[in-house]
């Protein structure tokens, strides 16, 4: 019997496949394509204390095997989430992870408290490249990662996942700081900061000038970082960045990830997370693995 279940720092999931924050809304849209209970977990769109309208359009541009986005955390605010979106998600047998972003450490703490134990986990977004305040500013220095993690941890009664930015010199240093401060898990990578220019209008393709790069193009960087981090910390890691096939997912698990998240791939194929889950199962069948830990981290390095 093949058992794909995962226990991610106490969050029980029936499969290692999660949807990545900001690419899956609050589940309603993709819920009209398939049963959301098929997913290991859903990470919801980044939440802020108050509703946010985000950045100006255009907010997306296409690049080679990738997209740039500059949504800038548009969301209805944590109250609307709790009142209107969470009850919808709770109809399904899947873990719900709340991705939160704030302007100050206090805001993050307040949100963690408001969430209480209504969600299965909290993902601390300290790596959003698309907002001026907060976001990535917290995520690029070990010291501030340590502080914010430590503070929010005190206010959360569910496992705390810290989401790391790839726009750093040494991701293992940041990862270690988060672990040290009490993070229960890590997730990486958020988007790489990128840019595209229209040579005819001579303007940036995004109204925000720069944006976050995601999709297949970032996979090699994401995989390298996940591998480095898994070798540097003991807490579990959710790997993401460009995963669009089951092979991609298996690469991240071989590199040490306990779960994987699918983001941009859903835009291209709404069924991507489901297909990836099926592919992982077939891989396990082929090689006779009965659980994820049978091959997790089993990369044979040269």
């Amino acid at each position: 019997m093949i058992n794909t279940s995962t226990n991610l720092a106490g969050i029980k999931m029936k499969s290692p496949v999660i949807t990545a924050s900001g690419t899956f809304g609050f589940g309603r849209e993709y819920g009209s394509f398939y049963d959301l209970s098929l997913l290991g977990g859903i990470t919801v769109k980044g939440l802020t204390l108050k509703p946010r309208e985000g950045n100006k359009a255009p907010r997306i541009a296409e690049a080679s095997a990738s997209i740039l986005n500059s949504v800038g955390l548009q969301n209805p605010g944590i109250e609307v989430f709790l009142d209107e979106e969470l009850p919808f998600l709770r109809q399904y047998d899947t873990a719900v992870i709340a991705n939160i972003a704030g302007n100050t450490i206090d805001e993050y703490c307040e949100m963690a408290e408001r969430l209480g134990s209504s969600v299965d986990g909290i993902e601390l977004n300290i790596s959003c490249p698309n907002v001026k305040e907060g976001g990535v500013a917290f995520g690029t220095k070990s010291q501030s990662v340590y502080e914010i993690t430590k503070s929010v941890k005190r206010h959360s009664c569910v496992p705390l996942i810290v989401k790391l930015s790839p726009n750093v010199t040494d991701i293992t240093e940041i990862a270690a700081a988060a672990q040290e401060a009490g993070a229960d898990a890590l997730s990486l990578i958020n988007t790489l900061l990128g840019m595209a220019i229209d040579v005819h209008t001579q303007r940036p393709m995004l109204a925000n000038n720069v944006g976050g790069l995601s999709g297949p193009a970032v996979k090699p960087v994401a995989l390298r970082m996940v591998w480095q981090v898994c070798g540097a910390v003991k807490i579990p890691v959710i790997g993401m960045g460009g995963i669009s096939t089951w092979e991609d997912a298996v690469e991240f698990i071989l590199a040490g990830a306990s779960s994987i998240a699918v983001g941009t791939a859903s835009f291209i194929d709404p069924f991507a997370p489901v297909r990836i889950t099926e592919g992982i199962v077939q891989y396990m069948e082929k090689y006779g693995y009965s659980c994820i830990d049978d091959f997790r981290g089993k990369l044979k390095v040269f």
Binding site: E29, A57, P216
Partner: protein
């Protein structure tokens, strides 16, 4: 929502850089309405990663045919144009809020360039509705004109303008339309933003109902990613919020959207 592969029945250039594609798909043809769009994967490779939104141009619900009209712009539309007959195309759709039909009204459609695409099925629906609805067409092009005959068959009167004067009146279609404003109750428009702004402005001076079909770059196309936003009025005064063109639109009541910023 549907996501499936549908068969391409024909795909040909009807005028320089403008293609017409006919797709057979019962499911889509049954559900679709004028003003909605399909989110298409133009090439299989990851090199052109995103889907492309293309409006429903014409529907034959009985024969389960959907016609699209598209203009070559970049990699995506060029990819679309290379799909051979009998090949399959990957489609999410139909998506979005289409054009509302208000009965007993005198209508006009104002289309600019490839913006005429979604207006064709609308005029067909208006004609099918029959009296007391009437519909005139105002079609503006830069130089090359297309689809005039089909519009003239479906509309009471068809006005055409080209910027270079190579066909019909020389100039902007908005100017011709401006002179006939008093004849209508409801206006439907799709085209360059600047044209739609102008139409919106004209309509609001006469308090005519006006529906605009907006374009914005899209990611998911289904409402999940929030990249395709436009500003819509929120309550009184100057306050607004960001609505999603893919699912709150693409058709909006002109009074509800802020087109100029």
């Amino acid at each position: 929502m549907n996501c499936q592969k549908s068969i391409v029945i024909s795909n040909k250039e009807i005028c320089s850089g403008v293609f017409e594609m006919v797709i057979e798909d019962k499911c889509i043809a049954e559900k679709a309405a004028a003003g909605q769009f399909l989110h298409l994967k133009p090439v299989e490779s990851n090199e052109v990663l995103l889907r492309r939104p293309i409006s429903i141009h014409r529907l034959d619900r009985e024969k389960a045919l959907i016609t699209l009209l598209y203009q070559l712009k970049g990699k995506g539309t060029v990819g679309l144009s290379k799909i051979a007959v009998n090949e399959y195309i990957d489609i999410i759709g139909p998506i979005g809020k289409g054009f509302p039909i208000e009965s007993e009204k005198r209508c006009a459609i104002v289309g600019g360039g490839i913006g005429i695409a979604p207006l064709m099925q609308l005029t067909a629906d208006l004609k099918a509705f029959g009296k007391p609805i009437s519909c005139d067409a105002y079609l503006g092009f830069r130089s090359d004109v297309y689809k005039l005959e089909e519009f003239s068959m479906l509309c009471d009167k068809t006005h055409v303008a080209t910027e270079d004067g190579s066909f019909g009146e020389k100039g902007y279609i908005t100017d011709i339309f401006a002179g006939n404003l008093h004849k209508y109750d409801v206006i439907y428009t799709c085209g360059p933003k600047i044209m739609m702004s102008k139409i919106k402005e004209l309509c609001s001076t006469k308090k005519l109902k006006c529906y605009v079909s907006l374009e914005e770059k899209m990611g998911c196309g289904v409402g999940a990613c929030l990249v395709c936003v436009c500003k819509t009025k929120a309550g009184d005064g100057d306050s607004w919020h960001h609505s999603k063109v893919c699912c709150d639109g693409p058709v909006f009541d002109a009074e509800e959207v802020l087109l100029n910023d």
